[in-house]
Symmetry: C2
Subunit: 236 residues, 2 copies
Amino acid sequence: MPFGTLYLIPVPLAEQAAAKSFTPYLVDTINQVKEYIVENEKTARRFLKEAGLKTPQSELIIHDYGKHNRDIPINEFFKGLVAGKDVGLMSEAGCPGVADPGSEIVAEAHKRGIKVVPLVGPSSILLAVMASGFNGQSFTFHGYLPIDKVERSKKIKELEASAQKNKQTQLFIETPFRNNPMLEEILRSCAPKTRLCIACDLTAADELVQTKTIAEWKQKVPDLHKRPAIFLLFCS
Amino acid sequence: MPFGTLYLIPVPLAEQAAAKSFTPYLVDTINQVKEYIVENEKTARRFLKEAGLKTPQSELIIHDYGKHNRDIPINEFFKGLVAGKDVGLMSEAGCPGVADPGSEIVAEAHKRGIKVVPLVGPSSILLAVMASGFNGQSFTFHGYLPIDKVERSKKIKELEASAQKNKQTQLFIETPFRNNPMLEEILRSCAPKTRLCIACDLTAADELVQTKTIAEWKQKVPDLHKRPAIFLLFCS
């Protein structure tokens, strides 16, 4: 029997953003797939409902791949796929495997020769690059920077130097409750002419995307506390 | 009068991929926006029709921002926005400003304090990172590599070393008619255990996404001639 297909299913980044997030193909796909590997079962079931799931939730097989379940042998997640069932992979927000868990599942699928199909959907990284006005021909996403203050300042200066030298857009994120100290550190560490884009609450009603120089940002520092944000640096 | 909003509107990557590409919000947006800045007027009109445009095409104002029009002063494109009109920005494929022209328009909008709203849609870069199974917490998109053979081989080896050292996924593209020589160069330049993902014809009927080691790819080399592809390198 041929293997099933592993569908990579993006989920919304914000509340009440279904119309901004789901393509008709994604809605069709979730109505054909009955088995899921997810980062969090509760939110996964909510996303499926929000996307327009017609299958009764009780008929779904959901494997929770959350933090507390990382010791489950990866084989367990592949029984359905190996038996020919199509399976959907979902993370907690955005695209599975991009700034989110899930890539180990995808890597294992490739090793086993299982077909992998990525679906179009929201990615804060991609939306941020697009909306920044910075170089989209060359960019690096760095994930989280070091927490230690000295290390972090050093890293920010490295990224600024790399943006300058390579004309490469530099992206990074922070845990939302640490956004304000991060922003202060950026404003302290970078040169006045360096450009900073803050992309915040993407696809939400109070979405904020602004690109200014460090000098301009210093004149009016926004409050980013607990707002999901991406920071982008560029020099031109 | 307040300024209009600049909407960044992704377009499909492939033929007959409308259901995989357009969200309901995008369809609503193009039915409210009457003015566009586009990379190619002919394909832009086709995308709008494909997405479900109800406005008669004759009522649209379309500014062509194609290669032959780069000497037009950027002011010309902003008259509508400054007068309070919403404007859509579209490239030839995927997301405007990401591996595509458009970022100068977005940068100018930020300088003028015009609101920028990025819409969710297909990006071959993002789909490729997601589907590769490689590190999605740290990755660099490099655009095109040097054309010169010696330079290109050197660059590929640099990217491989960077993937190894920083555990960072390295992405790059090539003009589709040069894909086969590029693939040969990758197979020649990289170590047998290095992993290569080829993501080809994304969202098309004949989409191909496969991750293998260099040694495995050498056993059966795919024909990528004239197929839009992204190459990803990773070492783990």
